[in-house]
């Protein structure tokens, strides 16, 4: 197996061009070509262990890097090493001999940490399986998406980390196989991966949304479900206040009956024009579960739509001009949903993996979000929009809905959640608008959390306040995972220290 490729000191920029850092080294892990998954895991984990021990001896900070997808500086380490995992991207099927008694191996998959959501979707489909949920895009590594609590808008599911059943985690002191107390894998399998078993419910829950503060994740076992398809309704429509009330009540069937199909949607997402939410068109996306039909071909890639520079340009133009902002944004939204699929159009049905958006760079935009109890949406909606506009506003506001997600630091911590994204040009105006939203929610006394991977203005005190007892359980689990403070220090960064996570 080739040694990791070391690029040396360089200035690194993330995928969407929103953050950068001067690195002491960019290390690119290379993958094992071993025939068996367990052997591949062992070889890669040993490489990572050697790197971490070298970093600890040299007092260098290390951050694992997946696709560099997060718009926030969460994966950045100024003057440290970024260790890129993208080449460790193989997926493996498990056998009944690999798992503990009573565990169904046919729905499990062993995934290396560098596999993107797109790759995992492809591998799952090859095995006749599908993921239950995912983010809006599929270019993130599954490990990175889980580490920041990425989510979609599947009404009956939590975050992408909910798929994870076990993880291989490397610290400078060793290679660990982290599972809940209830065993998942056999001792023999774990030993073959070169790992030491660590069965602890809180350590496992902390590793699900680890924000890079629980060690270096090199592989995961994920649970999928039998392959399914979804029908996609994607259209422009005029929203009313009653629709917002229905969302707050969880009446998605009623919402769908009026604007989509008369059945329970599997997924519901609303993109609003905040400058005129009820008199300008919103963009709706509703997905409905369908049985898998192998005769249906994958959908073609969309041929039209605004590109990176065009969207960035619109964002910057909107930051500079106040006139006609609602109309300019409406034009941009139309460009974003160039292809409409309404109820009477020919059915657009695809597997779950072929439904998420392809991973092109989005735009150099500001992204911030808040997650709160869905029931609070009705009373928060008007004040939030008003607060957002009071700061100058941004571009679109997106509503997504989900159940409580797994993980001690999962932002979706209410039984039923609404996640509200506030996008805009990468400027002080957008940031000011987002801060106004946060302040208004605080003034209203509404509990909420924020996305780890987006601009969030969090600090240690606020994280401790938002996550309460779960935050303290996270820190205790972290100490059990890395009792030696020198090990924990390896994963330090300005961002994690500021958040109180290291």
């Amino acid at each position: 197996m080739p040694a990791p490729h070391r690029h040396g000191a360089l200035r690194w920029t993330n995928y969407h061009g929103t953050e950068s850092a001067d690195l002491a080294d960019l290390v690119e892990l290379t993958n094992s070509t071993a025939d068996s998954g367990r052997e591949a895991l062992r070889e890669v984990a040993r490489d990572v262990l050697a790197l971490l021990q070298q970093a600890r001896a040299a007092k260098i900070h290390v951050r694992p890097l997946g696709s560099g997808w997060s718009p926030s500086p969460i994966c950045v380490v100024e003057g440290g090493w970024l260790v890129e995992t993208r080449r460790i991207n193989r997926c493996f099927r498990l056998d009944s001999d690999d798992v503990a008694s009573g565990v169904d191996a046919s729905r499990l998959m062993l995934v290396q940490a560098g596999a993107t959501v797109d790759e995992v979707n492809d591998s799952a489909e090859e095995m006749g399986l599908s993921l239950t949920t995912g983010g809006a895009s599929n270019g993130q590594t599954l490990a990175g998406a889980a580490a920041t609590g990425t989510h979609g808008s599947v009404l009956s599911a939590g975050g992408i980390q909910d798929h994870i059943r076990a993880l291989q985690v490397v610290t400078p002191s060793g290679i660990f196989w982290v599972e809940p107390q209830q065993p998942l894998m056999t001792a023999g399998f774990v030993a073959d991966t070169g790992s030491t078993i660590l069965r602890d419910d809180d350590v496992f829950a902390a590793c699900l949304v680890a924000v890079g503060a629980m060690g270096f994740v090199t592989a995961m076992v994920i649970a999928c479900e039998p392959i399914y398809m979804v029908r996609n309704i994607q259209k422009r429509a005029r929203l009313t206040r009653e629709h917002i009330s229905r969302h707050a009540e969880g009446d998605f069937r009623g919402f769908s009956r009026e604007l989509g199909l008369d059945e329970d949607p599997y997924f519901a997402q609303v993109i609003l024009n905040p400058f005129d939410p009820f008199d300008k068109d919103a963009l709706l996306r509703l997905l409905y579960r369908r049985a898998f039909d192998p005769a249906i071909p994958p959908p073609p890639r969309p041929l039209a739509g605004a590109g990176y520079d065009a969207l960035t340009l619109i964002g910057k133009a909107m930051a500079g001009f106040d006139l006609f902002r609602a109309d300019v944004l409406q034009l941009a939204m139309r460009a974003g949903y160039a292809v409409q699929r309404d109820v009477d159009d020919p059915e657009a049905v695809a597997t779950w993996g072929n439904t998420t958006e392809p991973h092109n760079p989005i735009a150099n935009l500001f992204n911030g979000s808040v997650t709160m109890a869905r029931a609070d949406l009705e009373r928060a909606f008007d004040p939030l929009i008003e607060a957002f506009l009071s700061g100058g506003g941004g571009t679109v506001v997106t509503l997504r809905f989900m159940k409580r997600a797994a993980g001690l630091l999962a932002p979706a911590r209410f039984d039923d959640n609404v996640v509200i994204d506030f996008d805009g040009p990468r400027s002080d105006v957008s940031h000011r608008s987002y801060r106004a939203v946060v302040a208004r929610l605080d003034a209203l006394g509404i509990r909420f959390t924020r996305h780890w991977g987006k601009t969030n203005d969090l600090d240690a005190a606020r994280v401790a306040h938002d996550y309460g007892a779960d935050y303290h359980r996270f820190r205790a689990a972290q100490r059990r995972m890395m009792p030696d403070p020198g090990d924990l220090a390896v994963f330090g960064s300005d961002c994690l220290t500021h958040l109180g996570l290291i």
Partner: protein, 109 residues
């Protein structure tokens, strides 16, 4: 006189159109994209392409030997202005690229 005004107006519109069009990006990607790493190359095309080849080509290293996954071609506003001011004699173009990480079938654990 009005004829010249119309011509000048149309020429200005054409210039603005060309400048805006030059700001649009083009993205080329493999069908089953598996990106890793990557960097940005800034190429300078001199004298409308009549200058030496080195002025408009670049070499990148590919230690893993799997090739390029995607490329994005773009010009920022400063580069567009430079091109306009120099009558196209100096044209700088950004090429953002990422390498191909490989694509493996599902194997046995």
């Amino acid at each position: 006189m009005w004829f010249y005004h119309v011509v000048i107006f149309i020429l200005i519109l054409m210039l603005i159109g060309q400048m805006l069009a030059a700001g649009g990006d083009a993205f080329l990607v493999l069908d089953n994209s598996r990106p890793v790493g990557g960097d940005r190359e800034v190429l300078t095309i001199l004298a409308w392409g009549f200058a030496t080849r080195a002025g408009r080509s670049a070499c990148i290293s590919d230690p893993a030997g799997r090739g390029i996954n995607d490329m994005r071609f773009s010009m920022n506003f400063g580069q567009i202005l430079l091109s306009v001011v120099t009558l196209g004699i100096v044209r700088r173009v950004n090429i953002d690229y990422r390498m191909f990480a490989g694509n493996s079938p599902v194997e046995e654990a």
